[in-house]
Symmetry: C2
Subunit: 220 residues, 2 copies
Amino acid sequence: MPSSTVEDYLKAIFQLSRKSTDGKRVALGAVSEQLGLTAGTVTTMMKHLQSEDFVSYEPRRGVTLRESGEKAALQVLRRHRLIEAFLVDIMKLDWADVHEEAEILEHAISDKLIQRIDEMLGHPSHDPHGDPIPTATGEMDNATFAALADVESGHYQLMRVSRDDSEYLKWLSSHSLHPGQALQLVSRDHFAGVITLKVADAEPIQIGETAAQALLVKKC
Amino acid sequence: MPSSTVEDYLKAIFQLSRKSTDGKRVALGAVSEQLGLTAGTVTTMMKHLQSEDFVSYEPRRGVTLRESGEKAALQVLRRHRLIEAFLVDIMKLDWADVHEEAEILEHAISDKLIQRIDEMLGHPSHDPHGDPIPTATGEMDNATFAALADVESGHYQLMRVSRDDSEYLKWLSSHSLHPGQALQLVSRDHFAGVITLKVADAEPIQIGETAAQALLVKKC
DNA sequence: ACCTCTACTTTGAGTAGTCAAACTAAATAA
DNA sequence: TTATTTAGTTTGACTACTCAAAGTAGAGGT
Ligand SMILES: [Mn+2]
Ligand SMILES: [Mn+2]
Ligand SMILES: [Mn+2]
Ligand SMILES: [Mn+2]
């Protein structure tokens, strides 16, 4: 069984590979950035992960997950997201706080317990941030959505929030911005980089492009 | 913060110190036995724990917990037992299976979440095995009970099961032997080392002295 | 074709935890 | 008292993970 360290590496590579331009290849710099480790540490680990058949690593070109690595990554992601859903729905913790907790628990919870949690929640398809939960066999919905930052005026539904930072999520909550919420992009000032939004029938709010980058929406 | 390794050492020392004849002093052999580590490993760790002010260690004489070590041990015990109670009462896992799970989760669950669990359970005083749960401030009920193996015929209440082994606990379950249960010691054969028991109005059962050693009872 | 900069790799070192095997203090037996 | 046994200690080695700092491959700029 992979250690929690290895699980975190595989998860990071998996997530970076989805955003990768170059096929599914991930640059080591992105990994070290994501995990907050030095470049040398990551190089060393990549050799190790390759020797364990988790990844395929070409020096100076990057890494891609091999089958067993992807499988392991999906299991970690499944545990992470089920745990988040559990903490919000059953334990009534704030969705802004559950990420950190899940980052640790994802390595500590047994298969038996994760199965129990899954049943208890009725096999949820998405976590509290709108991220899809892989099935026990490693299937994952790979729908993609446009960022609010890249979209024109109109009516949308918030599908997913792609940022973990707790303060940001708390701010979203305070404006009822959570997955599922309907909203209207009223107008945008491209030069100032500010977007005006209406959520339900509340007062319009202003939001910067960076903040809008993490709000993934569907036209409706 | 102590690592999970250190937490397990402190917990082991704490639990062994309660059974200690020589004050609260614990022999290193008992620690290595309990944790399944070699003697040398434990010696090395004791020096380290002393340097961190968790224990007081006298070579060849044993260790005792210092204040901060005892405090840490009680916190781990609290987490462990609350988690067990949670897994049984809320998650509906079998009491025979929760120990292993708790052994890991006790190091992974945050204070915030443990507090949530405690509230959700209504501040329970004992875990599913009848072990007392220390309070957040480190107070613990230290009531002691006689082992069924050491007691004469009569009516008793099962208060506590002092053994973790899952097969044993499953066997107890199958005879309705769980904390709180009333039972009658019908007779005992001191030479054969066999005790005859009646639980509620079921058929009498036979139980050996070793098995009866783990059943802690109160006269009633 | 050469230079430079960036991203990556290598090297050397350190922490935390562990074991096997050699050694020793001290309790117990003779 | 001396010898033996037991419990504990020391030593040397190993795995897993990490960093800082020195070194290098190769992409892009001139
Ligand atoms: Mn993690
Ligand atoms: Mn999430
Ligand atoms: Mn533990
Ligand atoms: Mn217990």
